[in-house]
Symmetry: C2
C-alpha cells in the first residue's frame, strides 16, 4: 500500500466506528473540536503566517491572500461554525419509509452515512474545519485534500481537531488530511475506489472539470454557476433592476452571483438603461449582443464565449430575446444548471419558466444569491451541487447520507 492507500484504509476503518456513533458522541466531538481550535490558536496562526509568507513570496494576488489569511476572529468564526453543526439534527438513523409485505417481511429504509467522503478544495483553510464538521455530524469519515498554499494551516487545524475527536472517544482518523499536495496525489485520491465512497470537489471550474474527467469514484459536482436573470415582457422593471443589481454585485466571487442578463425585446428599451444605471454604480462592464449594443451604445460586444462564462467579477453578458421560449432555450444551452431567475408579473410565464428551466434552483422574482444552505433553511452546507444525481443545490447534512434497507423476516424464502 502506498501512503494514500494507507490513509484511505485508516479513514475507512474509522468510518466503521463513526457509522454507528451516537448523536451525543458526535456532538461532544464537535464541541471538543471547537474548543481545540481556540486553544490551538497560536499554533494555527503561526502555521498560517508561514503559508502567507510563502504565498507573498510567490506573488499571490491580494484577493487570494485574503482568502488564505486567518486571524483570531476568523478562527473564532470557524469554532462557532462547529458548534452550529452540533446543533443541527442528526441526519443518520432516520426511518425514511417502512412497509410490511404480504409475506410478512418488514422492509425498513433508513438513512446511513456514506462512509468516507473525500473533499478536494482550494485556498481557504476554513473549509477544512467546515467540511470535517459536516462529515462528522453525518457519520462520515473525511479525507481532506486542500491546496498547497494552505497546507500548513490545514495541517494545524486538522491536528487540533483530530486530538479533540479522539478525546471525545472517536478514532482520530475520522478526520484525515492528505498533506501531499501534488497534482498526482489529487489524481490518486480521485481513483481511490476501495476507500472513498464519494468525492466532493470544492473550487473553481478548472478543479471541477479535472475531477469529472479523472475520477473513478462517485462525484458530486459543485459550484460552477453561470446564473441567468431573465427580465420578461411583463416584468416590474424597478424590481428587475433591484434583483439584477443584487444578484450581480452583492458578492461577485460566489457561484450564485448572476453572470448573464436576458431581456425581452418588448421591454428592452426601457429595462436596459434602468438596469445599466444601477450596475454602473459598481462599474459593471456589460458584454452585449447587437441589439443590446444598440440600446446601450457604450457597452462591450459579446462574443460566443461570453454566454457560457462565469465571470466571478464585475462583468455581465446581456442579450435581448424575442420570447420566453428563446430565453428558456438560451438558458438550456448555456446555463451551468445552478440558479436562474425570471422577473415577471405574469404567473403563467413564471410557471413555465419554473418548470422548463432545468437548474438546481429556479427563481421567480428573487435574487439568485439566495441559493445557499442557510438561506434555504438547511443550516451549513458543504457546497452547491450542479449535478442531478443524488443531490442538487445546497449540500446540507441530509445530502451527506445514503440509505439502506433493513429487512426483518422469520424465515421467508422466495
Amino acid at each position: 500500500m502506498n501512503a494514500l492507500e494507507t490513509l484511505g484504509a485508516r479513514a475507512k476503518q474509522a468510518s466503521r466506528t463513526l457509522m454507528t456513533a451516537s448523536t451525543e458522541t458526535k456532538n461532544r466531538a464537535l464541541a471538543a473540536a471547537a474548543q481545540a481550535l481556540l486553544e490551538a490558536q497560536d499554533a494555527i496562526l503561526a502555521e498560517n503566517a508561514k503559508d502567507l509568507a510563502k504565498a507573498r513570496e510567490v506573488g499571490m494576488a491580494s484577493s487570494m491572500l485574503d482568502r488564505l489569511a486567518l486571524d483570531p476572529g476568523r478562527l473564532a468564526g470557524m469554532a462557532k461554525g462547529l458548534l452550529e453543526v452540533a446543533e443541527l439534527p442528526d441526519p443518520v438513523g432516520v426511518t425514511l419509509s417502512e412497509v410490511v409485505r404480504p409475506n410478512g417481511l418488514r422492509v425498513r429504509k433508513v438513512s446511513v452515512p456514506m462512509g468516507v467522503i473525500a473533499v478536494i478544495f482550494e485556498a481557504r483553510p476554513n473549509v477544512s474545519a467546515d467540511a470535517a464538521a459536516l462529515c462528522l455530524k453525518s457519520g462520515n469519515a473525511v479525507i481532506l485534500r486542500g491546496g498547497k498554499e494552505a497546507v500548513r494551516s490545514n495541517a494545524a487545524i486538522v491536528n487540533a481537531m483530530r486530538g479533540a475527536v479522539e478525546r471525545a472517544g472517536l478514532p482520530a482518523d475520522c478526520i484525515c488530511l492528505v498533506e501531499d499536495t501534488s497534482r498526482e496525489s489529487a489524481r490518486a485520491l480521485m481513483r481511490l475506489n476501495d476507500y472513498v465512497d464519494v468525492l466532493i470537489p470544492r473550487g473553481g471550474a478548472g478543479l471541477i472539470h479535472t475531477v469529472v474527467a479523472n475520477a473513478t469514484v462517485p462525484v458530486i459536482e459543485t459550484g460552477v454557476g453561470n446564473c441567468h436573470i431573465y427580465i420578461d415582457r411583463d416584468a416590474d422593471l424597478a424590481m428587475a433592476a433591484d434583483i439584477v443589481y443584487n444578484a450581480k454585485t452583492s458578492r461577485v466571487s460566489v457561484c450564485n452571483a448572476a453572470e448573464s442578463l436576458l431581456v425581452h425585446e418588448a421591454v428592452a428599451e426601457a429595462a436596459l438603461p434602468a438596469v445599466y444605471k444601477r450596475l454602473a454604480e459598481k462599474q459593471v462592464t456589460l458584454y452585449g449582443d447587437a441589439r443590446a449594443q444598440e440600446i446601450l451604445p457604450g457597452i462591450e460586444k459579446a462574443d460566443e464565449s461570453d454566454w457560457g462564462r462565469e465571470y466571478l467579477d464585475y462583468k455581465m453578458s446581456v442579450k435581448v430575446v424575442g420570447s420566453l421560449d428563446e430565453a428558456v432555450a438560451h438558458i438550456a444551452k448555456y446555463s451551468s444548471g445552478h440558479s436562474d431567475c425570471i422577473v415577471t408579473e405574469n404567473a403563467a410565464a413564471a410557471e413555465r419558466f419554473l418548470n422548463e428551466v432545468d437548474s438546481a434552483a429556479v427563481y421567480w422574482n428573487a435574487s439568485t444569491r439566495f441559493t445557499d444552505g442557510g438561506c434555504f433553511g438547511f443550516g451549513a452546507e458543504i457546497g452547491i451541487s450542479t449535478q442531478k444525481l443524488h443531490a442538487r443545490g445546497p449540500l446540507g447534512l441530509p445530502q451527506l447520507t445514503s440509505f439502506k434497507y433493513q429487512i426483518y423476516g422469520d424465515g421467508q424464502v422466495r
Copy 2:
C-alpha cells in the same frame, strides 16, 4: 458532431418535451408501445431469428442463446410489462418539501426527471423495452446501447416503440438506440457529458468495471452481488438451512443469489452438515476454509480469491468464524454491498448485524433473493444499485428522478 453526439443532442431535445409531459400522455405512449410490440411481432421475431442464427454461428453457449431468444410469449410479457409501468404512480412533480422562509421566500423542492438516461446492457433484448418504459414514465429520454448479439432484435423493438411514442404525441427521440455496438461507441457514450445526465450499466462485473473506470458522466453502479449468509451461534439451524438453500439455489444466475456462507464456530459442526445436505440436492460445490474442510471433508479448498467471488453458479464459499465481529469484518472486506443476511434468534446480534453491515439490503432471517423491486413493493426496476450515491438497492421509478428547487419571491434581494 459525430453520429453519437447527434443522437445525444436529439435525445436531450426530446427530453425537454418529455420533462413536462402529463402523466396521461406518458401512459398513453406506454399503452401504444405495448400495442405496437404485439403488432410488430412478426418483424421483431424475424429480426430476433437473424440475431439467433448469427449467435449460433459464432458458437454462443445455450444459456446465452436462451437469454437472447424471443417468442410470442416473451413478447407478450414485454408488452404486459409496459402496461404495468403505466399503472405505477408518476414519480415526477411530487412536492418533496416546501417551506416559507422568514423573508417571505417560498422554497419548494419538487421531483423532476433526470433528463437523459443512458443504459448499457448485454444480451437480453427485453431490457430495451423494460428500460425504455421506466425512463419514459419517469420523464426521461433514454439512450439504449445493447450488446452486439441482440442488435437486430433491439432495433426492431425500439423501432416499434418509437413509432408508438410519436403517435401518442411525444418525440420519437424519447427512445434512442445506439446501433453501433463497437467497444468505441460504448466508451464514447460513457463520456457524452453534454447530453447524458446519468448512465446505468446493466450487466456483469466486467461491464460494470469498464464503466466505472471509463465514464465521465454520472453513473449508478448496479448488479454485482457477492451476497453472504451468516449463521449465528443462536441461529435456528433448520431455518438457516432453508434460507441458504433458497438463497443459493433458487436462481443461481442473479445478483441477489448468495455466494458465501459464514458459520459461527459454536454451531458449525451441527449447521454445516445440515446445510450441505440440502445444497447437495442441487449438486452445489462448496469451497471451504480449513475448519469447514475438517467438518465437511469432501469439499473443495477455498483460496483467497473465493471470498470475493460472484460465482453465479452452483458454487459457494464457506468459512467458519469465531464471532459476530469476525463475520461483520469479513463481510466489510469482501461483500459487494448488495445483500447480506444474518440467521439468528438473538435480537441483539441481529440489530448489530443490521446496523454494522454496510450493504444496500441487510436481512435478518430471510433469503437475500428478496432484493428486488417487486418484492420490496416498488414495482418494476431497472437494476439494483450497489453504490451509495443517489440510490441504493432496487432502482424503481422514484430513483430515476432528481429534484429541483422552485423559489417564489416578490422582489427579495440578499
